[in-house]
């Protein structure tokens, strides 16, 4: 898209091609670029600065893709790489924001939940997201693919079919991994999770 610099587009496109060409560092180089773009887009979407927002994360990711990648130069596989990274970065964007939000609430106004505190749920949601992120971390240690699936579905907003394409597995595999990951994560949160930084957010 024209409003974004051709340099960035060129850079991301090149990184994707490097990646397909076997460059192991490509993912690392790609992350900050995608992170910045997604954060920028998320903010603009959510502050309603745009009239056409749809509140769907896939729209965000797609828009980032259109902006950052020269589609005439990338392959089908590059695209999947990009989306995989994008989901991961959406996770970071949201969780970073949630951590900041949770910390802010904890630092001050949240202790006294006054009747006028219109948005009590905000801090709680932020804390929950942080907890979920921690639990997802633990899940990924044992079940890396489940972690990926959750990242794509929950943070990236990808459908089962899309997730299956991105990971190169069958729909059925995604469904099974997803369903079992949900059980696993739900249990983690229900049981309070591991003692760790995430837990401190629970006042």
């Amino acid at each position: 898209m024209e409003q974004f610099s051709d340099d960035a587009s060129h850079e991301v496109t090149q990184i994707l091609r490097d990646w397909s060409g076997g460059d192991a560092s490509a993912a690392e180089r790609l992350m900050p670029l995608v992170y910045d773009e997604l954060r920028r887009l998320a903010r603009s979407y959510l502050r309603r600065e745009r009239s056409d927002h749809t509140l769907q994360p896939t729209a965000l990711v797609n828009e980032a893709y259109l902006k950052l990648v020269d589609q005439s130069r990338v392959s089908w596989q590059d695209r999947h790489h990009f989306f995989g990274i994008a989901a991961q970065m959406m996770r970071r964007v949201l969780v970073d924001h949630a951590r900041a939000n949770a910390a802010e609430k904890r630092g001050g106004q949240r202790d006294k939940v006054s009747l006028e505190d219109v948005d009590v749920s905000t801090g709680q949601r932020a804390a929950e997201l942080v907890e979920l992120d921690d639990a997802l971390q633990r899940l990924t240690e044992v079940f890396p693919r489940k972690g990926k699936v959750v990242e794509l579905r929950f943070f990236g907003g990808f459908s089962v079919v899309e997730s299956a394409e991105i990971l190169g597995v069958s729909d059925k595999t995604i469904m099974r991994e997803w369903e079992s990951a949900k059980l696993w994560l739900y249990r983690e949160l229900d049981e309070g999770g591991a003692p760790g930084e995430g837990n401190e957010n629970r006042v």
Binding site: R47, S51, V118, D119, F143, V160, D171
Partner: protein, 873 residues
Amino acid sequence: MKGTKTESEVERLRRADEIVQSALEFWGDEQRALLDEACTGDALLRAEVDSLLNYREQAKDFIETPAFVFGAEWWADGDGAPGKVGQRVGAYQLVREIGHGGMGVVYLAQRADGEFEQQVALKVVRRSFADAELGRRFRRERQILASLNHPNIARLLDGGVSAEGEPYIVMEHVEGVRIDDYCNAGDLSTTARLRLFRGVCRGISFAHQNLVVHRDIKPSNILVTADGTPKLLDFGIAKLLDPTQGGGEHTRTGMRAFTPDYASPEQVSGEQITTASDVYSLGVLLRDLLAGSRPSMWHGRAGPTAGQPRWGARPARDHAQDAPATTALTHYPVAETIATNVVRETKGDGGRTPTAVRKFAGVELQNIVAMAMHDEPARRYASAAQLDEDIQRYLDGRPVRAQKDSFTYRAGKFIRRNRVGVAAAGLVLLTLVGGIIATVWQARRATAERDRARVEAAKSARINEFLQHLLGFSQVGWISPNPQKKNVSTIAEALDEASKRAERELADQPEILAAVQFTLGQSYFGQGKVDLAVQHLRASMETRRRILGPEHLDTAQSMTALAEQFVFQGKYGEAETLSREAVATYRRARERGEVNARWFALALNVFGVSVGYKGDAPASEAALLEAVQVGANLTGQDRGMIAVIYSNVGIQRGNQGDIDGAVDYLQKSIEEMRHLPDKPLSNLAINLSNLGSFMTIKGEYVQAESLLREAHDLNLQTVGDKHLFTVMSLIYLADNYCEQGDYDRAIKEVNRALTIQRETLQQGHIDFARSWTIRGKILTRLGYLAEGEEQLRLALALRQKALKAGHTAIAGTQGALGECLTAQGRYAEAEPLLTESHKTLAAKLGANDPRTQKANRRLAALHQAWLKPAPPA
């Protein structure tokens, strides 16, 4: 979980995961069997697997909504406007910050010019929300908004654009507590929550009458004041802030401001917003208030993804037949919580309200929520006022509107996953017929109450004296609507004694003897002893015919009562003949000006049921509807008769393929019963039972199962384990389990039913055909084909003997037998059976009835199997 794990721990987790993944494809016994096998000898592994699968229901909607959607609030929130306290905005001085939300910051303010003392709430709109058109829109709307003068609405007072160019809105300042906090902090009862909610509905309804849609109804926009009045804030603000609101345009996309949890599907997808969107949000609010807590971010119907199937991106409307009618309550915990709350709260009435009724109340509330939250705007309540009315109805104990569509909502994934490929039509029809039988008895109950009073005073006194003397009761137990099990032996013995002595001691007073025999006959039936009931009623009828003449109303009464017993014995021809004669007598009596509405209606009911049982649906329905007319003015406990007839009409409707009509009438019947001075628990059980059987037909197995279980429990409590109603509910349950694919439980229940039938029914009783059909069907499914066939052939022979050719019950058994033969590869034998079955059902029930469709699937399965090369012999 610990941070580091040993290798064997990790190994176990992986193994557990594999098992969990396979187990997720199964439920119930099948799943247990799989787990037993997979985890044999490894208790730790089993514990890990179980602890995951335990969360299956709870985790159903967990993280199904993308995280981003939940983040929406924070982003807007994080960079709030700098504090403006002390500053002046327009004519107002900002006193302190009250709160901030997505749209801006709200201040407590007062007039800076001291013109009024009144404190107001002043909202400074975040600049990103404002646009050049705001001022113009505001001027256009403010007239309307300011006219919204209603006790449940916080008034809009003023507004404009500040010196800094920020738009602001001034509203009545409401001191109060968020409605959800108010409910939870005060631990309000469901009733109190509903009353509060009605206030919200009234406010919304008032605004809708003034053509204002709120568009952002949510708990944080509703405060409850110290005197308990709910007040809606921010009315019309959402629209005001919507830049797409050009003058006179028809498109109203409300993308600007809404709260995902509370927004309707059309709001989320940017379609036209109408009052129906508010009705939807009211539904969400009601759900959350009733469930008792705000759902966590991970749960509940989740904003923008609502209406989407869980495994894909297509919206539900693209393939409506796969998706539940509404997503409102597919989340089990919420629905269950509502029901549980209601059940818990009504427990304090000393146990007078039976569990079934309490649960039903919970179901009604769920239905109300589901209707308000229907995905299709057109199928929601037409207005907030209608929703309000329905809640009033619920609170008054009257029937709620929100039922017709409600039974489709809970089936959800569970049922789709467990549906058996081919389901049988047979049993279901039988159960309906059983329902008719059962409901005749309901009439009996309602009328028995009045029998004492009807006999002339002198006779009555004599009879009662005689019976009471004999039985040693002051209150004659058999007339009680809820006979106590524990008295059964006493009453039975007393009846036998009474019977003997009546013949001996009243031989010289035949009219009184006939009356006593009549009463005894009914009492025997109350004990479930149909044969003895027939014996006494027949004696009563013959005596009366002899001494009073065939035209006497007492004779007609005995005739009617006897006809009813014949129905229970499965002797429909005799029942029809007698009741036809009784009806004719009552008709002639009416012409003479002698009206006995109660018995006339009962005779018509018995006649309608008899001919219905023989398969003449139009004649049956005509008689039943006439019975409703005849009994229209009955009052008090006699209304029970109307309840019964409604129930029978419902069943008749179902027999003609109109299942929704059936459900309607059954619910009317249940409502009538609820309002009887003495709540007839057994009757309620029967209605629940019948409703359950319709739900089974509709494929709503979960709903059906819970209705049927309730019915069975209620039957056990009221009539005991040997009664034919109890047996009936067992058979319904067996059918339900069979349809769910739970054959172990199905066969267990049907065997129990058969054991009792063998003890209590005469050989060759038509009810056996019902149990045999279901048993044969289960055996077939379990692969015991020869045994299944034998059972089904017995059932078919019995039905063909007892019923008119072309009866749907026969078609049902033919279908099951055809399925059994197909499974044996005996296609040529199966085909004529399945063809005839389908033909009969299509003619009687119509092509769209689920039973016809099942028959069709069976036929299709046969043809498919037949086309394949024959299996090697």
